[in-house]
Subunit: 366 residues, 2 copies
Amino acid sequence: MARSMHVRRPATLASLAAELGVSRTTVSNAYNRPDQLSPELRRRVLETARRLGYPGPDPVARSLRTRKAGAVGLLLTENLSYAFRDPAAIGFLEGLALACEDANQGLLLVPANPEKEDVASVHRAGVDGFVVYSVPDDDPHLAAVLERPVPTVVCDQPELASVDRVGIDDEAAITQVANHLIELGHRRIGVVCMRLARDRNDGFVPPDRQRAAHFHVQRSRLAGLAAAFASAGVDWAQVPVVERFDHNTSCGASAAAQILDRDPGITALICTSDILALGALNEARRRGLRVPQDLTITGFDGIHEAERAGLTTVRQPVLEKGRAAGKLLLDAHERTRPRTVTLGTELILGSTAGPPRGAEERWFGP
Amino acid sequence: MARSMHVRRPATLASLAAELGVSRTTVSNAYNRPDQLSPELRRRVLETARRLGYPGPDPVARSLRTRKAGAVGLLLTENLSYAFRDPAAIGFLEGLALACEDANQGLLLVPANPEKEDVASVHRAGVDGFVVYSVPDDDPHLAAVLERPVPTVVCDQPELASVDRVGIDDEAAITQVANHLIELGHRRIGVVCMRLARDRNDGFVPPDRQRAAHFHVQRSRLAGLAAAFASAGVDWAQVPVVERFDHNTSCGASAAAQILDRDPGITALICTSDILALGALNEARRRGLRVPQDLTITGFDGIHEAERAGLTTVRQPVLEKGRAAGKLLLDAHERTRPRTVTLGTELILGSTAGPPRGAEERWFGP
DNA sequence: GTGAAAGCGCTAACAA
DNA sequence: TTGTTAGCGCTTTCAC
């Protein structure tokens, strides 16, 4: 690391005390308990500190002694920088930051590359607790967090019996989408979903992989869809489900393409995120398919971009999730049982879902 | 803070060593220098650690000993959560996060309420260095950072002779905007700018406040405009400049309204940020003014939303700024002189700037 | 109001 | 390969 122009010579509390001819306690008090010494002495201490270039008590040493770091650690599924690219993650972070600043706590973003097993960054994090945002149930970083003797709150996934959690009812939420499409008359659908496990599988998802998904959120959404459409007489085994490891609009577009290529008869594409749906929308446009006349597309999350695009989707309170997670973590109450906060969602009827093309012919025709 | 279900009893490296009948060094080595002891012994150590619920070396104690925190601190002008609401700040953060993850460093967001003088959070931050993002030159948090014996890099502002800095040439950049408008024929302009100092002044800005602005970036932009328009024969003292403390579209709208109410003859509104310009655009629409036929509006930053709105603006490489700041800080080279990175900007010709209304009559008429 | 003593939990020389 | 010694810089009883 570069040496700054402002590096001071290493004066310490002890050397300051020696210089002043007082005890270390007195110097410490000058900083931490102004009322414990005379204003005059305090002035002298601070004055001498300035002269010696003493920067005040070392935060790390203080943390060691007080057993408080004054910061919350955040563990994400993705590379650190991804958090600033995904609108839903940004909203979550804003909420979490809100909770942290209310409690005057720092927020430490822990670098955790999902494609690496290296958990040293978790071990090195000097924090009083962790918030874990949407990671697979077999994430080694998560395991490392849980080994740390500090409180932890998980947002979204995984669901752990002994850990505080904030989330939504994914199955119920996606069921609203499914029922809406079923009512509109859709029976031939395709599904685009996010990463189901830590291994990259960009393509069709066989049923066993759906059921074994290490991301509870995605698993629930698929399960919800399967149940709803099965009730409507759809054979789920025939429904094309395509997975994408990365999460951006290009992936949404290519996944949509993959489904439409294989099964052009599809009338609706259900995406498990707005980002993917926005990509699917692009692909539909590219193919000259009108939405929703030729193809219905739905998303999930309710990000601004989706709203602007008029996407039919489910809104979930991302900011509130972040805030709730922070509050849960920073809440002073000592609790014995793990707490769960389940937030509400709302079906947003946009302009990208409509009756299937040629519905009459298919359902009421000859 | 809530007690987690995962709090272990406090086994330490020493107690583990005692239990095993080996020295603390050996246990330490088992974690930090696997090659320094036999695989067999290491296995025993780790195995016993698990049995005792020893979570591995305490990160804070380790930091104290090694004098490395493994994290970079970030100080922002605004409340923590603001960083996730401003697209330019988000871009900067993404770049900084990129640099941090490359170096395997954590990123600690330090809570620093700009309306409070409390700098304790800076003192408590266990970090190896600071990045300071766009703060006023008299910010007490900045002063506290500079007192800390760690390297520091400032992005944008303030300009400090002895501190590494990343920024752009604000005066040159805004001059491009000014010259563009001057060429189009604008002589009666208004300016909407961001906060000029730590005190809230939502309204017109007298010349002395412009010159005394504690935010170097805003000061330079105003100075650049003043110089360019003076060259074009405009009396800068007559140009209405309105300041807003908060940074959002509502503020941009109300500032635009304030100027238009006072001086309806204005033909162009120069805003020192895209967010403010987007707000001004809203206000123009609300008043039934066509842009650019009735009113020209320009921004600064080049955020996505501006692009979508077709705003005429200056694009600055926000992500690159973040990355450069991180690189500068984490760069291993020991440097003696402070370094400065000045990044390029680009005038974006959108659709919100055009010739002034009735330009002919005014300039070539009777 | 001030000081002495006792660690917080760990790592890094160096010695064995 | 393992252990001994010596702190990192600070806060906190508890006496005075």
